[in-house]
Point group: C2
Chain length 317, copies 2
C-alpha cells in the first residue's frame, strides 16, 4: 500500500500555515499520536520561523527527524519555501537552515500533499489508490494520490488547484496575481475582498447583514451562520461560494480522476461543511464524472500535521 | 528516460477520433515510420469499428501487436471504450473483441495520453519529465507526464481537462452534459453551438460574417481566418476563445506543474495556432506560474498515431 516504513521513531512535526503554525512531537503506536501540540501565529520571515522551531526543539528531546508540512509554492529539490501568495516567508532555504541548526534530517512537503499522504496512510479510506485532499482555508489547495503515488510535479507544486480559473470573464484578483481563480472567491482572506463580485445580481431584501456584507465587515463563520439561519443576502453569497467550489471540484475530478475527494481546511470546517449536500448537488450540474465520493477529512483541523507524521514515518512514494 | 523497449517489431496502429479514424502500420528505424496510412470516417458502432480494423489487418501482414489511441472516456483495466460524449461507439469491449479476431496482443490508450507519450519518446523535447499535451479538436483533452510517468487515473481518464469549468455562471452545455466547460466553447463541434454566448456583449459593426456567426453557419477555419484578416465580430469571438483557452491552460498548469505544454489537434492546427502569441499573453493574466514553455506538437495532425506507435514499441511507465 505505501512506502518503506522507517525504524520506529519520534518526529518533530511542523505545520506552517498562512495564518498559524503548529508544532508537535509525533510517533506511531498502532495509530498516529501527537504530543506537546502548540499553535502560534506564523512568523513573518524565514529566519523567525527557524528560531521558533529551534526554540521548540530545544525544549523537547528524543526526536530523530523533522518533518514539515508547509504552504506553497515550494521548491522541494532545493528545500526552499518560495514566494508564498498569502504570507511573506519565502523565498527561504528552510531545509538547509534547519539541518544546520538541529543536525537531523529535515523533510519538507507541501501542506496539502502532506495531508493527502496522511489520509492515504492513516485515514478512514487509507490505501485508496486515487484520492485527492482539498483544503478550503486561507488558500485553496490539493494533494493528489494518482495510481497509488503522491503527485509531485516539477518542484513539488502539482497541487495548486486554488489557481484553477473558474470564471474567465472575472476581474476578481487572487493573492497570486491571477484572475478568476477558485481561491479568489473561496480563500478565507479573499471572501471579504471579493464579496462585491459574489453578491452581484442580488435583488433581495437589504437586511442588516447585507450591509455588513457589502462593507466587507464580517467573518467567514458569520457568513455561513447567517446563510444557515436564512439571511437571504448571506444565502445568495454562500450559494455562489458553493457553486464556485463545485465548479473547482469538477475540474479536480477532470484533472485527477479520483475515487474519493476528502475535504478539509478552516473555511470548510468553519461552515462550508454544512453545505456539503449542496456542493454534491451542484457537482451534478458541472461534472463529467458523477461517480466520485465526497467526504470530510479523517483528522479535522490536524490534516497537515498528521500528514507530516505520515511522511516522517513512511517514505513518500 | 522511458520504459523497456520491446523487441523490434511492426505495430498495427489505430487512431480513433470523434470524426475520423486512421490506420497504419508503424515501426522504428531510428525514428518513427508509418506505412499504408489511411483515414476514414469513424464508424458509428463498436462492431463496425472492429470490422474496419480486421479488414485493414487482413490486407497487411507482419504486425505482431495492435496499439490503439482512442477518444475517451475509457476503462483501461477492462479494455473498454465507455460512453464517449462526441460519438456513439461505446460502451464497447474493444480490446477483447480485437484480440479474439486477430490473435495478437492489443494495447489501448486514451488518444491524448498516447500523444504525450509520443512526444515524450519521439518529440522535439523528448525526455522532459513534466510535460502536458493538449488537443484542441472536436473535444479538448490532455495527456500528462508527471515526474517522468504517464498519468493514468482510476480508469485511465486522468486527462479530461476539456471538462475543466472555466465559467461557473455559464449555461453553455458540453457534450458530456456538464456546464461552462472549456470544451463547451473550444471543442470544434461546440464552437457553432455556443457561439451565441461567445458573442454576447459585442457592440461593433454588423458585418456579413457577423450574421453568419449568429446563425451558426460557419466553419472553424472561416472563423479564425476572418479574425486573422480583421473582421471585428470574428475578432471578438476568437478573443473569447483565446481567453477561454488561456484560462483552461492556466488550470492545466495549476494541476500538473509542467515544464512544457505541447498543443495540437485540428482546431489548433486549423487556425487557433495563429493566435499562440495572444494565448501566451493572456496566460500572464490568468496563471500563477508564468514559467511554462508553450509550443506546437512535433507531429502535427499525427499526434495520436505516433503516440500509439510509441506505446507499442516502449511500454508505458
Amino acid at each position: 500500500m505505501h512506502g518503506v516504513k522507517q525504524a520506529m521513531k519520534r518526529v518533530l512535526l511542523v505545520d506552517i500555515g498562512a495564518t498559524n503554525t503548529r508544532l508537535a512531537i509525533g510517533w506511531e503506536e498502532g495509530k498516529p499520536v501527537l504530543s506537546g501540540l502548540i499553535q502560534v501565529r506564523t512568523p513573518s520571515s524565514g529566519e523567525a520561523l527557524v528560531d521558533l522551531i529551534v526554540e521548540y526543539a530545544g525544549e523537547r528531546k528524543g526526536f530523530s527527524i523533522v518533518s514539515i508540512a508547509s504552504i506553497g509554492p515550494l521548491d522541494l529539490g532545493k528545500g526552499w519555501i518560495l514566494e508564498t501568495p498569502n504570507k511573506e516567508i519565502g523565498p527561504y532555504p528552510i531545509v538547509e537552515a534547519l539541518q544546520g541548526k538541529l543536525g537531523v534530517p529535515v523533510f519538507l512537503l507541501n501542506d496539502c500533499q502532506a495531508a493527502v499522504w496522511g489520509e492515504y496512510v492513516y485515514g478512514r479510506y487509507r490505501g485508496t489508490r486515487n484520492m485527492v485532499y482539498i483544503t478550503l482555508s486561507s488558500g485553496v489547495g490539493a494533494g493528489a494520490i494518482v495510481d497509488g503515488r503522491l503527485l509531485m510535479g516539477r518542484k513539488g507544486n502539482a497541487h495548486e488547484v486554488g489557481h484553477f480559473v473558474v470564471d474567465y470573464k472575472s476581474e476578481a484578483k487572487c493573492g497570486c496575481g491571477g484572475h478568476g481563480h477558485w481561491e479568489a472567491y473561496v480563500g478565507g482572506k479573499n471572501i471579504p475582498r471579493n464579496v462585491k463580485e459574489l453578491i452581484e445580481g442580488y435583488s433581495g431584501a437589504r437586511t442588516s447583514f447585507y450591509h455588513r456584507l457589502v462593507e466587507g465587515s464580517f467573518t467567514v463563520e458569520e457568513l455561513f451562520h447567517q446563510s444557515f439561519i436564512g439571511d437571504p443576502a448571506a444565502k445568495y453569497v454562500v450559494d455562489r461560494i458553493v457553486r464556485v467550489t463545485a465548479a473547482g471540484l469538477s475540474s479536480v475530478i477532470a484533472a485527477y480522476d479520483p475515487e474519493i475527494i476528502v475535504l478539509g481546511g478552516t473555511v470548510f470546517h468553519k461552515g462550508l461543511s454544512r453545505f456539503l449536500n449542496e456542493i454534491i448537488n451542484y457537482l451534478e450540474f458541472y461534472s463529467l464524472n458523477k461517480n466520485v465520493f465526497l467526504t470530510v477529512s479523517s483528522y479535522p483541523g490536524r490534516e497537515p500535521i498528521i500528514g507530516a507524521l505520515a511522511a516522517g514515518i513512511y517514505s513518500v512514494t
